[in-house]
């Protein structure tokens, strides 16, 4: 047993009594890969099944095999043909993009204030911002609805952008404050000696240094806004103003008596792809240690 634990820990040391030169059976390696594969299978299976179903049609949808007998892309073209799905995608992109830009810009400035400026009530204000993220969406829904009506932006994307900021801002502010506090204070003093203003300081000195944190939080904010359902359902009415999650939920057949599983799955796959692409692109940019060399190192 202890030998197995050792091998699992990656130790190359020979167990006592082992013949030198004769490799031991790599139990640890096999265990590692078995566990990894199991983990990957469990997490990817739903997506795999959605992909498989999206390629099936008719009664094929109700047979459980993973590889469809007669793969077809009819569902994909159907999604775009029978409703303004392209418009919905664009809406989602606009909302999520604006939410990311706004929340990063606002929270970067807020992070400077909370992380660097000392003022009375700073801790209280930070706690208030954190507590805003504790409220369930349903609790703010009716109040937010009144707000949206008062602004006259009901059934527009602006309503969704404002509502989604409620979800993203608390955590982007908190994450960036934490990172901001780790940056050396001398940088700000050096900038003060150089005579730069607050905005230049925040956007030209701090933003490049916080880039890894910005990418990570921006990605999370994008995913939150992209997947957001309740606000999107409540604050939009017309098909053209819907975002993708609501559009998918409201996909129906003309008869109204069956669920078009094939099209729903096709739409789900389409809506997943941008997120996968974003993570693949940005995971390389989430590099830490950019600030190495700022101070003695």
């Amino acid at each position: 047993m202890s030998g197995l634990v050792k091998a699992g820990a990656g130790s190359r040391a020979l167990a006592p009594g082992a013949v030198p030169g004769q490799p031991r059976f790599p139990w640890g390696c096999i265990g590692y890969w078995a566990a990894s594969l199991l983990f990957i299978f469990v997490s990817v299976f739903p997506l795999l099944y959605a992909l498989s179903s999206s390629l099936k049609q008719g009664s094929g949808l109700f047979s459980p095999e993973l590889w469809p007998k007669a793969p077809t892309f009819a569902n994909y073209s159907g999604v775009f043909a029978e409703q303004p799905f392209a418009q919905n995608l664009l809406n989602s992109l606009l909302v999520a993009g604006s939410v990311v830009t706004l929340s990063l810009g606002l929270s970067l400035m807020a992070a400077w204030a909370f992380g660097r400026v000392e003022f009375r009530g700073r801790g209280l204000l930070l706690m208030l911002i954190l507590s805003a993220s504790m409220l369930p969406q349903v609790a703010v829904l009716s109040g937010m609805f009144e707000l949206v009506r008062a602004f006259g932006i009901y059934d527009t994307l602006g309503a969704l952008i404002i509502a989604d900021l409620v979800l993203t801002l608390p955590f982007t502010v908190w994450v960036l404050v934490t990172f901001m506090r780790q940056l050396p204070k001398e940088l700000e003093e050096a900038a003060a000696m150089d005579g730069v203003g607050v905005l230049t300081l925040v956007f030209r000195v701090y933003m490049p240094l916080l880039w890894p944190a910005m990418v990570a939080t921006g990605l999370l904010a994008f995913i939150a806004a992209w997947n957001e359902f309740l606000f999107a359902l409540t604050f939009t009415l017309s098909t053209e103003a819907r975002t993708v999650p609501v559009a998918i939920a409201l996909i129906s057949t003309p008869s109204g008596f069956e669920l078009p599983w094939g099209k729903i799955m096709a739409a789900s796959v389409i809506v997943t792809l941008p997120l996968v692409a974003l993570v693949v692109v940005f995971q390389r940019r989430i590099v830490s240690g950019l600030s190495a060399g700022a101070v003695k190192g």
């Binding site: 001398e186 940088l187 003060a192 000696m193 005579g195 240094l209 060399g293 101070v295 003695k296 190192g297």
Partner: protein, 378 residues
């Protein structure tokens, strides 16, 4: 030409006084070093000059202009930080140009200044590198270059050498001295805890003492030329801080007063000190001070046993046990053949003696005494 005037400067953080009642005038082109043990507020004083902190009381004047309420960038000063504080995401060139671009200087002028700084500090070939691709010494030079391109009236250095290794420290120290000569008219204010840096670089040393929570002691223990602080320390704190190893202190009482001479009794050991007897009374408790390098070993009427020897190569530190005195007397000697337990004759030259009264104030030593001390050095 920029004279710096500090008048009645005090600084407290909350209820803790950090700097107290500082009056100081730094002449144009002067190299002024703030030195002191940790916690004496020397960095804070520099930051007051830079404008990174506001004084609790007092006025700061640079070049005849009251700068108390001016932001750092408007004070015509440039600062080199202990941690360099280079912008990590910018190249060396951008680091130097960043501040100048914000002052809306024409591009040609910026390039000219950067070229000058590159020449002075030998930064050729490094301009496109990021700070993390530079060695410690190179980062230090870039930090200095960033200060130079601003062409300030005053340079502020906050312990610039403390992150460098010993050899590089000596080399950079020389470069800073050379830079000061090259720049001529600009004043330099330099903070360090290292008395060797202070002694070697300074035209004038300002020795600060920690306040330890008291607001009735002045922060400046003594200000003056390096050798003045060495030969004529104003009080016991200065005497103990300047010089390495530190001055020997022995408790004593005044036995007799003469013309330019004081006789003291240190627990049965009778010594003469060549200094002004003014204000002293017979029987008064005093502290006798003598630097290790001034204790004469191998001659004289006194005898002491060697309790410990440290051989440093160029010199040896000899610890002498004196009867009835707990701390051994430290002497520097160029003889290497000194054995532990040996009974050595020694002498405390009267002209090398310092005397401190109970409140720590030094008894004045005449100029003649100062000169003869220098003779003892040789």
């Amino acid at each position: 030409m920029s004279r710096i005037e500090l008048r009645g400067i005090s600084k407290r953080f909350g209820d803790t006084p950090v700097l107290n009642d500082i009056d100081l005038s730094i002449a144009p082109g002067e190299f002024c070093v703030f030195v002191g043990p940790s916690g004496c507020g020397k960095s804070t004083l520099l930051r007051l000059l830079a404008g990174l902190e506001d004084p609790s009381a007092g006025e700061i004047e640079i070049d005849g202009l009251l700068v108390n309420h001016l932001p750092p960038a408007k004070r015509n000063v440039a600062m080199v930080f202990q941690s360099y504080a280079l912008y990590p995401h910018m190249s060396v060139h951008q680091n130097m140009a960043f501040g100048l671009q914000h002052r809306k200087l024409p591009a040609a002028e910026i390039e000219r200044r950067i070229a000058d700084a590159v020449r002075i500090l030998q930064l050729d070939g490094l301009l496109q590198r990021r700070p993390k691709e530079l060695s410690g010494g190179q980062r230090q030079r870039v930090a200095i270059a960033r200060a130079i391109v601003r062409q300030p009236k005053v340079f502020l250095f906050d312990e610039p050498l403390s992150n460098l290794d010993a050899a590089l420290r000596v080399q950079t120290r020389l470069e800073i001295a050379r830079l000061h000569r090259a720049l001529g008219s600009a004043s330099m204010v330099y903070v360090t805890h290292d008395q060797v840096e202070a002694m070697t670089l300074a035209d004038r040393i300002v020795l600060l003492q920690p306040l330890a929570g008291r607001s009735d002691v002045p922060s400046v223990a003594q200000a003056g030329a390096p050798l003045a602080l060495y030969h004529h320390p104003a009080n016991r704190f200065v005497a103990g801080f300047i010089g390495s190893p530190a001055m020997n202190f022995v408790d004593a009482t005044v036995k007799a007063l003469g013309d330019g001479r004081v006789l003291v009794d240190a627990n049965g050991m009778c010594c003469a000190a060549q200094l002004s007897p003014q204000g002293l009374a017979v029987g008064e408790p005093v502290t006798l001070g003598i630097r290790p390098e001034h204790v004469l070993l191998g001659e004289g009427a006194q005898r002491a046993r060697v309790s410990h020897v440290e051989h440093l190569g160029e010199v040896s530190h000899v610890y002498l046990e004196l009867p009835g005195i707990s701390t051994p007397l430290l002497a520097k000697s160029y003889h290497e053949k000194i054995a532990l337990g040996e009974l050595l004759p020694f002498d405390l030259p009267a002209q090398a003696m310092h005397l401190f009264r109970a409140d720590g104030v030094a008894q004045a030593r005449g100029n003649a005494a100062g000169r003869s001390v220098e003779a003892v050095d040789g």
